[in-house]
Symmetry: C2
Subunit: 659 residues, 2 copies
């Protein structure tokens, strides 16, 4: 570990397969694209809208779209581009995500050739700005229960789009308040007196002069905690006529006479298939959250490496913040977790690219696995971002509260990530359900929690499914001797085993409790699930921890450079042991750690902090964020101030001497 | 516990001894004083400045000042007033705190009669706005090391106030950027070639036209994460002449010939005595943080009681958020902790009022104890606020991100509290030091950590010192049978014993490790302390937990109404067991809990959540925050939307039926 780290080697490892996309952003996104601190909402919106049309073509911002419409057919690249944009300005990233990810993505994924031919080029070029109008005021998490209706009339061969009451208005819709000309509107499809569940229509919401067409009412969601540059709004429809061919009809068609047909018979399954095509949004948000976390950690670590406070008898100068154990305890485990999540995200993006990037039909099993992984890592990354950016702001003291030091906007802009594109708690339940069913369709639909009549025989095999480095991980685990006490807590096999064991035990327990509940609370189906909700969420958390550790281990295995590999291995130890330390109550309760070994974990963590202290700066520099992108006054000014103060202190105070 | 709770009785208990002050605020602070969402910084500053001069006299905003200058000599009342103001608008509260607490408080506490006669009336009336200019860019936590100098010249009988370099400029100073006419400036006093440590001077920084006098440079700290209505700025002094009598000379005098004298010889001790008179600021900030936490919890709990999401087979309507175990797990332990901290704050305010409210000299031992308690509860309350308000915003989903629902400003405005008026980590160290020295002056000064040559024999007796309900607590503890396994985890005596035992064991361990370190690391004094910093901080945290629990127990003991008492007792159980659950790793490691008992704690916590679910609304209504003060759109609109949706759903969709 004393080897010199070649920063270029570390960056290569972290940049991963889409290094080209990352470098294009580093090269072409100049100061013009950085946030402006202290703007009004109107100023921010105008600026971000303008910048959206000025994004350099080199970025390949629309790279996920099919090549024949001017895209790059590069799904993975489009996610990495979003991560990079997030390090420049989160409003810009979200606005781009709404336009090309959600709106354009929905037209692409849910529409058919006639929609693609008519609109994709203008969507890619930004000639048509659009909205993704799914969420309603009354239904955010449970979007299957949307109240907006779109009813087909065979006489006029048109749909009637209608908002029956205020709880059914579309809410929080990006691009709606100012710029959107069209919207993909989700509503309950009704034809010939029958409901067919939620579908999507492409609906104009503004004419060339910016006025809404008759029946469309647009509201402004107003001031928000952050993301000032994104014009979130509200849409209501008062019996708006929508031509038949504006139904995005890949998964459900309505014939001129009103006959409904679909390749997927079950309404609920069709709906989740439609949602599934939009998994990219969650992968993007998770990646963007981690990108912002890296910016915050880079600022806090670099500041802690120059900022001094409180003297000590054995040194002339005051102590650097990063030399305090308490400061290391805040920054380093968060940094290690950020590394772990980085490798998990890289693995996820590669899987997404493989599953959805081809021309052929999507493998359903792999798609479901992808959705679960995306949901879990979205929750993990966004909560980690919220906690870590908050901690970084505090680690910079009063300076961290000033806009000019970037941390306030990183915090405020990412804050919504924990609840949008799926509320994190709801997403964890989705992950848990996937584990409990063994990814099988035993319940039919997500709302089947209440029935809880399942038998989870297939659980074990599913839990052990891994996406990367399968054989390596099995080899490491099987090399662990039977008696834990004989193994160092830094043994990778032991760490992997402990993570896996925690997940499995929690899962077994949840299955047992749900089965008992199903037997004893037949008349209270809600209670069957609700009474174990905390346990079920713990299963999901343990699962995500394991998946993340395994991705980190796989990433290290792929690293050729010896010093970088050694450094990453230490960071991985810190990640694994921080998770074990944070959950030591569980491990002790279940006899997985003895008290002595639990205390030893804390000792080893503190030892790792000492060992990693000299590498803190290297670890954040490895993220490869251009200096200019940090856009942070204290990083520019504090070194000069410290120099001036040191020079003055050494010279003595001339006044005092003269007096 | 099934007894009906009379809300008026619960409010009486919570309102406590300064109920009159609370009610005056509820009555006289109307909608005009509430935050305006989406303002620019300039608009917010202008509005808050105007409102500050329009605060109704009934509030007794300057009640801490001596009666002879127009105050009310009511120290406790002034703190409670600050808490109430914090529930209306945090910018208003901070701006008032700067003017009357920090600035006016410093003139009052550090000045002598000639300063009081000349300025206090105009400060109280708001005719003179002022600043408290202590923090420098280079020294925030370690203010003893300020670099600004103020050098006396006996020839001119004036001081020369000087900022030697940029790290010595005054930074983050409230009232500086826009409104302040004078500032209490802290600087190193130099006279006849000798330094005498930090003192304070009253210095004009703007004339009647608002222009700074020669040599004074004023900067603007610019946009901040929150508190937009507070004009934080920067002050630099280029050899500014300050008349001799503008030294606030209660604790240090300079004679015309430059001879320095002070009632306190030791520079460091004098400095901490000067700081100690300002302990009110910390008590106010802690109280304000809890006040804002109560607002956030009231919003989230009331929203969770009307908002529904996801259906269940056994009910017609969707499930209320507050009925989900996961939601209860988020809100209720936070609510219980807020109750606990409320009683701890009430006890602290009463102690402050007693120690500092009289005319006679302040008891030094009690003053030190007060400072430690204020530091610890400030840290606990502000961290709890940051975590809880964040959680409340997430518990309200996307709505929690919109400014119109209040939570964004509650979060952003309180965010700085964790690092201002003392960085929380530094404050915890202060608490720990107090415990390690047994509140005695064995080290001399706070910078003595490095020497670590202390012997902490007096630790035990000090730990057991309690401010309230001493005999009750001892009786409860002594009633606990020897074998823990036989006692219910809801036994109050057992809970108290466990909290006390954790603090004592952690403290003993820290003392032992510091002593060993002092013996083996003589040449590395910094490491002696730094290697156990995490342990030392854990001591402080355990101490604050114990003090908080004991205050809660004392508060219940003082409650006469039986149903209210029973409810509070359950809330106290939830607080105590939540803390034990959160720290179960430690209790298991140290054999204080068996695995079975540890699991039982989790079961009992979940049982308490069920038991308290019907009282959630009552518990937040007990805070007595006027509806209008919540200033939150979803609380007004969501009930109407839910009604409209229910009516519509029951009627069936007319469109679908007609089609």
């Amino acid at each position: 570990m004393s080897d010199h780290i070649d920063l270029a080697r570390l960056r290569e490892v972290l940049d991963g397969p889409w290094a080209g996309v990352r470098n294009a952003h580093r090269e072409h996104l100049d100061a013009r694209f950085l946030p402006v601190y202290g703007e009004t909402g109107d100023q921010a919106r105008a600026r971000i809208t303008r910048l959206l049309t000025e994004l350099p073509t080199e970025l390949g911002i629309a790279s996920a779209f099919p090549t024949e419409y001017g895209g790059g057919s590069d799904v993975g690249g489009s996610i990495v581009a979003t991560e990079m944009l997030a390090q420049v300005d989160l409003s810009l990233m979200v606005k781009a995500g709404v336009q090309w990810g959600l709106f354009g993505g929905a037209v692409s994924a849910l529409g058919t050739k006639r929609h693609h031919d008519a609109y994709l080029r203008d969507i890619i070029s930004g000639k048509i700005f659009g909205c993704f109008a799914m969420t309603e005021t009354g239904h955010g998490s449970d979007v299957q229960q949307l109240r907006t209706t779109c009813t087909y009339d065979p006489h006029t061969q048109t749909f009637d789009l209608h908002t029956p009451h205020e709880a059914a208005r579309k809410d929080y819709i990006g691009n709606a308040a100012r710029d959107g000309r069209m919207a993909v509107v989700f509503a309950q499809l009704v034809s010939n007196g029958r409901r067919h569940g939620v579908h999507a229509w492409l609906v104009p919401i503004r004419d060339a002069q910016g006025n809404p067409p008759p029946g469309v009412t647009i509201g402004d969601a107003g001031a928000k905690a952050g993301l000032l540059g994104v014009d979130n709004g509200r849409l209501s429809f008062d019996h708006v006529t929508v031509p038949r061919d504006m139904l995005l009809d890949r998964y459900g068609q309505v014939a001129p006479d009103g006959t409904y047909s679909s390749p997927i018979e079950n309404d609920s399954r069709r709906f989740f298939t439609m949602l599934g095509t939009l998994v990219r949004g969650r992968v993007s948000v998770g990646g963007a959250a981690s990108a912002a976390t890296k910016s915050a950690l880079t600022i806090a670590v670099r500041y802690g490496d120059i900022r001094r406070q409180f003297g000590t008898p054995d040194a002339d100068r005051e102590v650097l913040l990063n030399d305090y154990l308490a400061h290391q305890r805040k920054l380093l485990p968060a940094l290690a977790t950020t590394y772990a999540l980085h490798f998990a995200q890289t693995e996820l993006v590669a899987a997404l690219h493989e599953v959805q990037g081809g021309d052929g039909p999507v493998d359903e099993h792999r798609q479901r696995e992808l959705e679960s992984r995306a949901a879990g890592l979205k929750a993990a990354q966004t909560w980690h971002a919220t906690r870590t950016i908050q901690m970084c702001r505090e680690a910079c003291g009063g300076a961290g509260y000033l806009a000019e030091n970037r941390l306030p906007s990183l915090k405020a802009d990412t804050d919504v990530f924990t609840t949008f594109e799926g509320d994190n708690t709801v997403l964890l339940q989705l992950v848990a359900k996937g584990l409990l069913t063994g990814y099988r369709d035993e319940f039919g639909s997500l709302d089947g929690w209440g029935r809880a009549s399942f038998v989870a025989e297939h659980v074990r095999e599913m839990v052990l499914e891994r996406t990367a480095a399968r054989s390596l991980i099995e080899r490491l685990i099987s090399a662990v001797p039977g008696r834990d006490e004989e193994v160092a807590v830094t043994d990778r096999g032991w760490q992997l085993k402990v993570f896996e064991d925690r997940e499995r035990h929690l899962l077994d327990g949840a299955v047992r409790r749900l089965r008992n509940g199903a037997a004893t609370k037949k008349d209270r189906p809600f209670d069957i699930f609700n009474d174990v909700q905390d346990h079920v969420l713990a299963v999901a958390a343990a699962h995500i921890d394991r998946v993340t550790l395994e991705a980190f281990v796989a990433g290290i295995e792929d690293t050729a450079d010896t010093p970088v590999r050694a450094l990453l291995s230490r960071v991985c130890d810190l990640y694994a042991l921080s998770v074990i330390e944070a959950n030591k109550g569980w491990f002790l309760e279940h006899g997985r750690l003895t008290p002595a070994r639990s205390k030893a974990v804390t000792g080893v963590v503190n030892g790792l902090l000492k060992e990693l202290r000299p590498h803190m700066r290297t670890l954040v520099d490895g993220f490869g964020i251009p200096d200019a992108w940090l856009h942070c006054a204290i990083l520019r000014e504090e070194p000069l101030r410290q120099e001036a103060m040191a020079a003055h202190d050494t010279a003595g105070d001339p006044q005092a001497v003269a007096a």
